[in-house]
Symmetry: C2
Subunit: 140 residues, 2 copies
DNA sequence: AAGAGTAAGTTACAAAAAGTAACCATATGA
DNA sequence: TCATATGGTTACTTTTTGTAACTTACTCTT
């Protein structure tokens, strides 16, 4: 049991070492593109938007708003813009009345959502543990 | 090429379908523990704190502040508290003068950091693509 | 002995981000 | 004629962050 954890730690340190040879998190954000890019993509609302687009493939503004429960028009439209700018999603507007606008993942966005999904599955599996920890902590 | 992407989409839809049978993101946050738990753990600062703790195993407040470049005392102490409450990290205070406080990952936190690291590696590999997209988008 | 330094924060105040709700154009259906 | 629908935007409020000074208590320097 102990050694398993120790091995994990060792593998981990090696991974991070390798990584930190390239990226230095000590750099200010404007000098560390990874921090910058990550802060957009793994933002709470962006995550939900991307997951739902991964699920439905194509969604219009108001549908998206329904599924990404609790998001406001303002923030939804902001996030859609930056997600488009960063290349995760594409926006297509049709000349109809009223206007129809469709959002969908790009192939690039699709690869990101696959990664994101793994993390979300971890969260799904482990959130009971976290909630239990929280409760225990509250009692101390 | 096309079919590869199509296959990915299919696998994806199945994964999400399976998942959404259990969790409904349409629920308000207070009814969806996954959203709640995720918003703490995948917050930008929390992510950096956890990654650095994964790297060094043990860090004291001021060292952590140095590595998690740009974080303020206030936010660092807030995040450390919730990360401790959620069970990702543990805090040990020594009765010395001046006080010494050591933060480290719990085994639970360690498993999360492994997941987080995968995502970060994707970010590292793909951030140039994102920056290129951003620039292209700016020109439109 | 006075003053600076140190560690791990806290606190008051300012700035930025997010949430809220009303509003826009335009056309269709009741 | 008035309500409805779409895909947002805008002004205003509230919440969250960031900034910088301060705290406690002991030690080291001068």
């Amino acid at each position: 049991m102990e050694t398993v954890v120790e091995n994990q730690k060792f593998r981990m340190a090696r991974k991070l070492e390798k990584m930190f040879g390239h990226i230095d998190y000590r750099n200010p954000p404007e000098l560390c593109p990874v921090r910058d890019v990550m802060s957009v993509a793994s933002d709470q609302w962006s995550t939900l938007i991307l997951l739902w687009l991964g699920y439905f493939h194509v969604l219009r503004f108001n549908k998206l708003k329904k599924y990404v429960y609790g998001i406001s028009n303002k923030v939804l439209s902001q996030r859609l813009k930056v997600l488009e700018a960063d290349g995760y999603i594409s926006r297509e507007a049709f000349n109809e009345v009223p206007v129809r606008v469709e959002y969908s993942l790009t192939d690039f966005g699709q690869t990101y959502v696959e990664k994101l999904l793994e993390l979300t599955e971890w969260m799904q599996a482990n959130s009971p543990k976290v909630l239990a920890n929280r409760e225990k902590y509250g009692l101390l």
